[in-house]
């Protein structure tokens, strides 16, 4: 994958992807089709650190970051 200067390459839920430089956690959520303002039941970790909801719009992502977005699913 070629990366232009205005983009950063990172891992989003296990898949390689690119986001614009300066993208925040909230932008990553939008890239997954989620609304950061109505994200009940959703949590985010960047490089194995949980990012609280309050910090989604202010936490910028860096190239190579590993972003995990999770929710509840069936389990015992």
């Amino acid at each position: 994958m070629s990366v232009s200067e205005a983009e950063i390459a990172l891992i989003l839920n296990g898949d390689a992807t690119t986001l614009p430089e300066g993208a925040t956690v909230a932008d990553a959520l939008r890239a997954e089709g989620l609304d950061p303002n109505d994200a009940r039941g959703i949590a985010v970790a960047v490089n194995a650190e949980v990012i609280r909801k309050e910090a989604w719009t202010t936490t910028a992502l860096d190239a190579g970051d590993d972003v995990e977005i999770v929710t509840a699913s069936q389990g015992g």
Binding site: D15, G33, S73, Q74
Partner: protein
């Protein structure tokens, strides 16, 4: 009379259109892309009510069974109208166990099938291998379900498109319906370019995408959610041969007459994601290889992920919806191809006569109007 407007050109929408058109009714089937390239194209075409019998789903079984009984005549009429084959195959299905725990589970299924008078036979591993020599040597037991048949779902789609148009129906592909405008007398659809098309009834048959069609009140939308299934297609090459559908604990194999061998499928709650993943293919391949190891050398010709339209009770939504003038024919989950004849015929009957037949009454789209409903 204004036409019946059918939203969604999969096997369900096309077949309703064909059945109506051949009785002289004006119909228009809309598909946002090429018709039948969604769920219907990515299915396996198994007509398998006996193998898919589930605890607590006996009402659905009776419906599945009735549709299977209608399949041979449906296929015959369709092939005559379209002038092409749908590859209806009646060799039957083998359900196999590959270890002690799965043999116990298989025996439990068999007892349940017999309790409900299904026509199935218990085979030893050796007996099963006499029927299908490519089954794994270590398989210890199998159920033979001779009445579980199959069609080629892709040929079915091609035939339905031709038959619909030969009978005078209109197919509008690459024409997304933006919105439904419900009305008891004169419902309509509004297309992506803003054009309004008036009809005498609207049929929502958009499978997993049915919930997303605009224009219905929130409470009236069909409670359908997508369930992802990853599959792959192999090309059978001699000496490899398989005649029956074979179902194991973790995968099934469905051979088609033109050499396609479908291996599926995962069942994942992933929303509308259709990415093919290493893990998904691995699970399906390992499950297929466990029961038919001879697939090892076959070329992989296609991989994909499809979406099944699932409801809360795994039964379809067929009949009048709460929205005036709008009929639902969706939510067929893993039984869309199997349920095509009965859905098409009973919905066509509803649209011609206004009567809801006893066959579709239990599957009324209005059974989930309250969130705590249907705790029967």
């Amino acid at each position: 009379m204004a036409p019946v407007l059918i939203v969604g050109g999969g096997t369900i929408g096309l077949s309703i259109g064909w059945r109506l058109a051949r009785t002289g009714r004006a119909v228009v089937v809309f598909d946002r892309a090429e018709a039948g390239r969604g769920t219907s194209w990515l299915a396996a075409g198994m007509l398998a009510p006996d193998a898919e019998l589930q605890f607590e789903e006996l009402e659905l079984y009776a419906f599945n069974r009735e549709s299977l009984d209608r399949w041979p005549r449906f296929a015959e009429e369709l092939e005559a109208d379209a002038g092409q084959s749908v590859d209806y195959r009646d060799e039957g299905t083998l359900i196999v166990a590959d270890d002690r725990d799965s043999a116990e589970a298989l025996r439990r299924l068999y007892d349940f099938q017999r309790e409900h008078d299904l026509n199935v036979d218990w085979l030893t591993g050796e007996e099963a291998r006499e029927i299908e020599p490519f089954l794994a040597p270590r398989l210890s037991a199998a159920i033979h379900a001779p009445f579980d048949h199959q069609v080629d779902n892709r040929k079915l789609i091609e035939a339905l498109k031709v038959a619909l148009q030969n009978a005078g129906g209109t197919l509008r592909e690459h024409t997304p319906v933006e919105r439904i405008a419900p009305d008891e007398e004169a419902p309509a659809v509004v297309l992506g370019d803003g054009t309004r098309v008036d009809g005498s009834a609207v049929v929502l048959a958009a499978g997993p995408w049915s919930r997303g069609v605009k224009g219905l009140e929130r409470a009236h939308r069909p409670p359908v959610r997508p369930v992802k299934g990853q599959m792959l297609q192999l090309q059978m090459e001699l000496p490899f041969d398989l005649q029956h559908v074979v179902r194991g604990p973790d995968a099934y194999l469905a051979p088609k007459s033109n050499g396609r061998l479908l291996v599926g499928a995962t069942s994942e709650e992933m929303g509308f994601d259709t990415q093919v993943t290493a893990g998904g293919l691995y699970d399906v391949l390992e499950g297929g290889w466990d029961i038919v190891p001879g697939i090892y050398d076959l070329p992989v010709t296609e991989t994909w992920a499809g979406l099944r339209p699932s409801t809360r009770d795994h039964a379809p939504l067929i009949g009048r919806s709460a929205a005036p003038g709008v009929v639902f024919a969706t939510g067929h989950y893993r039984h869309g191809v199997l349920l095509t004849p009965i859905t098409a015929e009973e919905v066509a009957h509803l649209l011609r006569t206004g009567e809801t037949s006893p066959w579709i009454e239990p599957f009324s789209p209005q059974r989930f109007t309250s969130s705590t409903a249907a705790s029967a």
